[in-house]
């Protein structure tokens, strides 16, 4: 295991609010995410999942401890860590395609290349026909897909996703799950994926974390062996494996007991 390119959460605690009435959102958390891992994080609402993601994204600084990538401390957001927000965060003054191309534009990629990339990712998330609409003309789930396309197009090393498929119908969700797995298998990107669906966590993740609430604490951390880079098994096949069902059951009970 090489630690050089790992993401290390080292003794991080997070408080919110004024000194006298502060709320602890995260209790002391230590976590190492190895390059290429697909980490799924589940846990009851309000337990601190988004807080952990925002700390890693660099949107907030930890009250205590530090987070490092390849040994250097995270002091703010950066293009190495792409974020899919829990509530879609798009720019209404741009059309859908321009939103998707934005990361490439910031990187100085040529217009033609940008167009080609955005077309590819819009096709992937099924928004080709909406490329030139304004973002507020999209449904919630479509906005979510647009966000996903935007992050994938900007090609970050870490992809941080906060319930990205929460607003999607079962069919679209399944399709995008497979697309994401495909990308992960091909590129070996490191992914942190927050979800409320235990099934999704166990199906997608190469590692499953469960957090307990008040204050947030990682209480379950196990590898999931069902999807591996470089190897693809049919979804139905995975879901019928006894080991899959067993792990899913243990994750579920761990979430129940964490309440």
């Amino acid at each position: 295991m090489s630690r050089d390119k790992s993401l290390v959460v080292d003794g991080v605690r997070q408080f919110f609010g004024p000194k006298n009435s502060r709320v602890q959102a995260l209790s002391r958390t230590d976590l190492v995410i190895e390059p290429g891992q697909f980490v799924c994080l589940a846990g009851p609402s309000g337990c601190g999942k988004t807080t952990l993601l925002r700390l890693i994204a660099g949107f907030i600084n930890p009250s205590e401890g530090q987070i490092t990538v390849s040994g250097s401390e995270i002091i703010g957001p950066g293009p190495d860590r792409g974020v899919v927000f829990q509530s879609p965060t798009l720019y209404p003054w741009m059309d859908v395609a321009s939103n998707v191309e934005l990361g490439l534009k910031f990187q100085g990629v040529s217009k033609d290349q940008r167009r080609a990339d955005s077309e590819r990712y819009l096709q992937m998330v099924g928004l080709t026909d909406f490329a030139h609409r304004r973002t507020y003309e999209l449904s919630g789930g479509m906005q979510q897909r647009c966000q996903i396309a935007r992050v994938l197009a900007s090609d970050p090393e870490f992809i941080l996703m906060d319930e990205p498929f929460g607003a999607l119908d079962a069919l679209t969700r399944e399709r995008l799950q497979n697309e994401l797995l495909d990308i992960w298998r091909k590129t070996g990107k490191t992914i942190l994926f927050i979800t409320h669906s235990v099934d999704e966590a166990v199906f997608l993740g190469s590692r499953v974390l469960v957090m307990s609430p008040r204050p947030g604490k990682i209480v379950f951390d196990e590898p999931a062996i069902f999807s591996k880079p470089g190897e693809s098994i049919a979804a139905e096949e995975i879901r019928s494996l006894p080991a899959f069902l067993e792990l899913r059951e243990r994750v579920r009970s761990s979430i129940q007991h964490s309440h």
Binding site: F59, F85, T89, Y91, R134, S154
Partner: protein, 309 residues
Amino acid sequence: MVIPLDGLEYHPSGGPEDRHGGPAVVSKSAPLWVRVRKNHWTTRLIALAAFLVVWWILTTPWAWNGDKPIMLPLYLPSIPSVWNAFIRANTIHPIAEGVDREVVGEYGYYLWQHLLATLQRIGIGLFFAIVIGLPLGLLMASVKIISVSVEPYINFLRSLPPLGYIGLLIVWFGIDNTSKIWLLFLAAFPPITIATIAGVSGIKEDQIHAAQSLGASRLQVVSSVTVPAIAPDLITGIRVALGFAWTTVVAAELNNGIPGIGGLAYLSGTELKTPLTITCIIVIGITAIVLDSIIKAMERVLTPWRGKA
């Protein structure tokens, strides 16, 4: 109609749904009372007609009143005399009846030249107000020291009636255009700066975060997120500033205001040319409404996402 309060939209007739003068789907054959209820333009036309009728009644000679109008022409001139004043102001005409010498419009300028002179002052004043007020607002919103130190002065300036310091500006910049443009600038930039600050503080944090996570530099955050995000507030600020500047410029032209529509209104009043004064007032009011409609249209075209995202 100018906007009376910062940020509050003023809808001359009814709620915000009345953006295009009411729904246009009322059939022409519908009874009048239905049209009045459904279509604001019908209502407006009827109100205008009623207004003109009252004016006509008040200014027409009546036999029972000793062949005199109810209101003397000096106080309220008749509709035809106002119309004549309007025509006179737009044509070359004899200086007086039966005199050969001909003059241009009023005080050497056509009415539209007076109006144009005033609009030019507004345009220049507003231009500088935006050029200075917008960056100042951005600066105040992002640098604490600047906002803390400059804000009291902006509030101070904002609380002064511009006419209170026109005298000072005349001393500093002379009685001609410069002092008037300064006055307009000083009147118009605080609303723009304040709207900019409000706009910046209304930006959703995550919109900035998203751009930073996509690799935006500081400058790219400003150009791709901050500026477009504040555009709706900025346009509202410009609208407020324009309304404010318009009422101010008309008053500012009390001193040496020819050419200028405000100067013309004032001068004609002092010379008891009441029909011309009323012509000017009508022109001033209609221009204000037109200017405001232009900005409202720009708002719709430039910031279509307003209120939707």
